[in-house]
């Protein structure tokens, strides 16, 4: 083979492998066997936490981790028994990495349940592994509708956030009734989270007579200028169900750079100090708990542990609840001094909190969706996000 051709082949191979990684190609799962035996948990209950604590979603992932394990930390500090031990795994927001960690968790015979992971694509990667092992996993923020229905339904998943169907309806209601949109540009980031949400919103808007244009960029996209150039004239709103607030901010700034005045409407990740385009909106699964009385004790313990400047978005409080219900189920299962994963799973189904730090009760449907989950709409102002609905 001639040298240039060899180089070309090398480049093509590297490109192909990068594309595969970007597409989230997980290694073929050599499923770890479920450890069905009961374990002694009279002194210590072992749970897992998995989330993207490094990588592109690290800022959200670290908040998810800190809040997910906060209930257990407070439990241990108060001297309650049994002690809760949390084993941590970093998914790096990568489905393949999430799958590897899930297999490690399943292989750990002492581990009775899992808090996390963070995003829908990670849940898709770990769902079957946990399902085969009979492991319950409590997720704060995965919203993909199909995780709890249809062929891709995952048994053992319990989520706090309401699914996309609720978000799509809430978002489009606001766009249609308050913002009176006529032409919307929808931009997804090609992820398992983003695409279904973009489709659901587009469908509802189109049905309501709104002109909808769709486009899509890779999550790793660093430049939106050409996408912006391609936005049709007359567009009055851009809907951005993408997962990285810094990218939304860049898009907003590049809009200004090209002299286009179009309102941005983001999804869950919008509640972030990295997204500060004044006049934008976002819809997210939790309320602003900063001034909500019953949440203050929990927030005080969070700031005490992580400093007064620790991040607080709408992810943290939901993560706290996901940890709270998992610890609660495990403690109930361990009442007689031993428990297995099946018992924890049953106890998760029985979860019933009259209220929580977001001011809402927590009970689950048979499919693992929280009953009564809702979405909240915020507007970005110069002083930060303000709830508008």
């Amino acid at each position: 083979m001639k040298k240039p051709l060899l180089l070309g082949a090398l480049v093509a191979a590297l490109g192909a492998s990068a594309a595969l990684v970007a597409a989230g190609g997980a290694p073929s799962a050599t499923a770890a066997r479920a450890t069905a035996a009961a374990v002694d948990c009279s002194r210590t209950i072992t749970l897992g936490f998995m989330g993207p604590t490094t990588g592109p979603a690290a800022s959200i992932g670290q908040e998810l981790r800190d809040f997910s394990i906060l209930y257990a930390e407070n439990w241990n500090d108060s001297g309650k028994k049994p002690k809760i031990d949390i084993v941590q795994g970093d998914t790096q927001f990568d489905p393949a990495q999430a799958s590897t960690i899930a297999q490690q968790f399943v292989s750990n015979g002492n581990l009775l349940g899992v808090i996390g992971p963070g995003g829908s694509q990670e849940v898709l990667a770990v769902g079957r592994i946990f399902q085969r092992a009979g492991m319950a996993f409590s997720v704060a923020s995965a919203t993909r509708k199909s995780l709890t229905i249809g062929k891709t339904k995952v048994k053992g998943l319990f989520r706090i956030a309401a699914p996309d169907s609720v978000q799509a309806k809430s978002t489009t209601d606001y766009m249609l009734k308050r913002l009176h949109v006529k032409r919307v540009f929808v931009l997804d980031d090609q992820s398992a989270y983003s695409v279904p949400l973009a489709e659901a919103v587009s469908k509802i808007l189109a049905h309501a007579g709104v002109k909808v244009s769709r486009s899509s960029v890779a999550q790793k996209q660093s430049d939106f200028s050409s996408v912006i150039t391609d936005i049709p004239d007359g567009t009055d709103l851009i809907y951005l169900p993408i997962q990285f607030p810094a990218k939304m901010e860049l898009l907003g700034q590049q809009l200004k750079e090209q002299g286009k005045k179009i309102t941005l409407f983001a999804s869950d990740a919008g509640y972030s100090p990295d997204f500060k385009i004044v006049g934008s909106y976002f819809s997210t699964f939790g309320p602003d708990v900063r001034t909500y009385g019953p949440a203050q004790k929990v927030l005080a313990s969070y700031y005490r542990r992580h400093g007064k400047n620790a991040p607080l978005t709408t992810f943290g409080p939901l993560a706290y609840i996901s940890g709270q219900v998992m610890v609660g189920a495990a403690v109930r299962a361990c009442k007689d001094g031993s428990a297995d994963r099946a018992e924890v799973l049953r106890e998760m189904h029985k979860t019933s909190l009259k209220t929580s730090i977001i001011g809402e009760p927590v009970r689950y449907t048979a499919d693992g969706d929280r009953i009564g989950g809702s979405f909240f709409t915020f507007k970005v102002t110069a002083k930060g996000p303000v709830t508008v609905r």
Partner: protein, 314 residues
């Protein structure tokens, strides 16, 4: 034909292409002298972006710099170029020089190892979060609002700065290689390293210089990237490095004008694909690699590369 759209896309593409071209130059220079694919080069670019970021932060950040903003930007470029140049020399000295006479696979693996080492060190030192230059806040946003505005065409000050800086660096490099003693030495080493050594050339020094200059250009590209695209993170080098490597191959690896042309071709190709091809933004990388394959099929040595002619009979 919507000319406004076309021209705006070309501006977008030339901006991105300028960054890719600067990285590709380093790839091509090192390959020209050592026949080595320096996969750590993209990570040097990432380090340059972080050096620029820390210089910006050191001088008070984008909104309230303690010295005039143009001076901060110059210092960002200089620091990143010097820092990355030194990093390149260190990498060459400890990762590649000991393997110079080993099989060709050994330095390739070493390059991949250095790439991971730099990337993970950055994770450890800089953290995992995406950091932002917030250059859109420079002078209360004037750097993105001001610039050339001609009908619907908008070229911000930041883009003009990036394109001008890239062009200036390319011109300086071309003059350096063509007209200076060290540049001649680099060309001699690239043409025949052993013969150059026998003629009394200090090849180690020439190679170290090549690494310094190539890495300094990557450092400048890192700052440029941060200024125009804002977000920097520890693994940004892989993607950009891959595009730059592709640019070097498309242009004809080893050829400096080829690397520039390849970088611009990829930047403009991505922009035009986004604007005109069905689902262009979705399949940007696909179109880049289609371009690569087409170029290699038509011109196996790349756009400006020379065929590797070898004598096969005595």
């Amino acid at each position: 034909m919507d000319w406004d759209k076309l021209i705006q896309l070309l501006v977008n593409g030339v901006t991105l292409g300028s960054v890719i071209a600067l990285i590709a130059l380093g790839f091509s220079m090192v390959y020209g002298v050592l026949r080595l694919l320096n996969f750590a080069h993209g990570d040097v670019f990432m380090v340059g972006a972080f050096i620029g970021y820390f210089v910006l932060t050191w001088f008070g950040g984008p909104t309230s710099p303690s010295i005039p903003l143009p001076a901060v930007i110059v210092l960002m470029f200089l620091s990143a170029m010097v820092g990355c140049g030194c990093l390149g020399v260190v990498v060459e000295r400890f990762a590649y020089r000991p393997l110079r006479n080993a099989s060709r696979v050994a330095p390739l693996i070493s390059a991949l190892g250095v790439s991971f080492l730099i990337q993970n060190s950055a994770l450890l030192v800089f953290g995992a979060e995406i950091r932002s230059y917030d250059s859109f806040d420079f002078a209360n946003g004037a750097y993105i609002v001001d610039g050339i505005h001609w009908g619907p065409l908008n070229v911000s000050v930041l883009r003009i700065l990036a394109i001008a800086a890239a062009a200036a660096l390319m011109v300086v490099l071309t003059l350096f290689v063509a007209r200076t003693r060290l540049g001649r030495a680099m060309r001699a080493a690239a043409y025949d390293r052993e013969a150059a050594e026998m003629m009394g050339l200090d090849v180690d020094r020439v190679i170290a210089t090549t690494f310094f200059i190539g890495s300094a250009l990557a450092g400048a590209a890192g700052v440029m990237f941060g200024l125009v695209y804002n977000n920097i993170f520890h693994y940004m080098g892989f993607e950009s490095g891959l595009l730059a490597f592709t640019a070097a191959v498309v242009g004809g690896i080893g050829s400096l004008p080829g690397a520039m042309l390849g970088g611009l071709a990829i930047g403009v190709g991505q922009a035009l694909a986004t604007g005109y091809l069905p689902q262009g933004s979705t399949f940007q990388d696909f179109w880049v690699f289609v371009l690569l394959i087409v170029v290699l099929l038509v011109r196996p040595s790349g756009l400006l590369g020379r065929p590797d002619v070898r004598r096969v009979t005595p």
